[in-house]
């Protein structure tokens, strides 16, 4: 009898353990595809099917990465790139957030400002680059302004939309409870539009990073983009790859940072996470 009970207990537990064993954790799943690609790549490059200047092997790229790290060259470029992106982002997103708040709040300022914004928004980033170079030359100012221009719109649009989509029913509650204008802002409008604003920040950061690459490839004497252009001239393809990978990693890191911020600030939201 006793043994039976134990067996039942075991067989009850078993499937759960089995399930856990079989299912890899979520973060691990993301590595499967890159791992396969890299393995195939190494195989192709290692067998010498293609020349190293076209497709350097992953091993060669890693070596180049290590030597660039040890010499400190990479950090110098990365620092200046991040600084540029950050300055441009803070400028553009700061103005975007402020203007989005103003236009979101007042119907009158919407009439004056929003139509212009909607026209400017449709202009592709690349189209204004020559103009910025013409006006501000190749130096830092033109790069930062280009990045600012790109990061302005996502946050402007999302802040504006966020404020406008606050539930009118909750405004009735605020009226019934006699909220002051300030409390309406801090307890109702701001929290209600926070998810939109954070989305705007995420998109703006992405746009800033993208236009940083454009700005640095156009012409510069430092930065990760410059490193790539420089390596291209000397056919150091593995160094080009290192530059691309760095752009990817930093972009992903900033995105993850905002995502973490989102999770923290929006923990009240019980949203659907997707089926396993």
């Amino acid at each position: 009898m006793k043994v039976d009970a134990q067996q039942i207990a075991y067989s009850n537990v078993d499937p759960i353990i089995e399930k856990r064993k079989r299912k890899p954790p979520l973060w691990l799943k993301g590595f499967v595809l890159p791992a396969v690609v890299i393995a195939v790549w190494q195989l192709i490059a290692g067998l010498g099917f293609v020349s190293e200047t076209v497709l350097p092997s992953p091993l060669l790229i890693v070596q180049s990465f290590i030597s660039l790290t040890l010499s400190g060259e990479i950090f110098g470029h990365l620092k200046i790139s991040i600084l540029r992106a950050l300055c441009g982002f803070l400028l553009g997103a700061g103005i975007g957030l402020t203007l989005g708040l103003i236009v979101g709040f007042s119907k009158r300022s919407e009439g004056y400002i929003d139509p212009t914004m909607q026209i400017l928004r449709t202009i592709p980033n690349l189209a204004v680059t020559p103009l910025f170079i013409l006006w501000f030359g190749f130096d830092e100012l033109s790069k930062i302004l280009l990045i600012a221009f790109a990061s302005f719109f996502p946050i402007y649009v999302n802040t504006f939309n966020g404020i406008r989509s606050v539930d009118a029913k909750l405004f009735d509650v605020a009226r019934v409870l006699e909220f002051s204008k300030g409390k309406q802002l801090t307890r109702l409008i701001f929290p209600a539009s926070l998810s939109s604003i954070l989305l705007g920040i995420r998109l703006s950061l992405g746009a800033a990073w993208l236009s940083l690459v454009v700005a640095e490839l156009m012409g510069s004497s430092s930065g990760v983009g410059y490193m790539i252009m420089d390596a291209r001239q000397f056919s150091q393809t593995e160094k080009v790859f290192v530059g691309i990978i760095i752009f990817g990693i930093v972009g992903k890191l900033t995105d993850s940072f905002v995502k973490i911020l989102e999770k923290r600030l929006l923990k009240w939201r019980n949203s659907f996470d997707g089926v396993n």
Partner: protein, 255 residues
Amino acid sequence: MAVDIQIVEKSFHMETTKNIVLNGIDLRIEEGDFLTIIGPSGCGKSTLLKIMAGLDTEYKGVIDINGRIVEKPAIAQGFIFQEHRLFPWLTVEQNIAADLNLKDPAVRQKVDDMIEIVRLKGYEKAFPSEISGGMSQRVAIARALIRDPEVLLLDEPFGALDAFTRQHLQDVLIDIWQKKKITMVLVTHDIDESIYLGTDIAILRANPGELQKLVHVGLSYPRSRTDPSFQAIRQKVLKEFEKTDTESYKDGEGI
């Protein structure tokens, strides 16, 4: 000290026609009374309550609460909507405090007392998405009560809840009403609910919304739904409904 309702006419203007929703409603609610308003759907119950709350000011007439004319929404007229309408980003205790500062010891004390009264102990830090509909409605009631309203207006507050939760909340409400001695006005379309809760029942008829009859219940609390005296009141209310039915048929205004 009482609530005086004098609505000459309330109408909504459609593109071509004028839709008279309330017509000549004259009603006085004494301080500490519990008035339930019952009537067919679309007869203007919500509209009447919104007028009393100051949420709707486009009508002919006047609402007077304890000698003060209602002109806009205020915490003196607490309002409970059919849906709880909590702020999803605030926890239970933050929702009750709403615009008040929880760090203020006086507010803290009041919130804690109120959580006790609406029986939500242990859920102070939960978000609205984590609690049931009945609990959310209790939070909404607590949010209104903590502001010490002179009158609490409730628009079908338990309509969306299951029968068990509804009965429980009815008892909670009576408990609060007896403890706090606030004037209550509750709209419902449930006859039993109107008799179980009200000191008086206002029966409205539709098209246009008029006061059909004011019934004084006169039973002591807590009431029993199966008690013969309860059933007698029920018969009385049902008779009034029958009358409105035949009348509207006579007028040719029936469905």
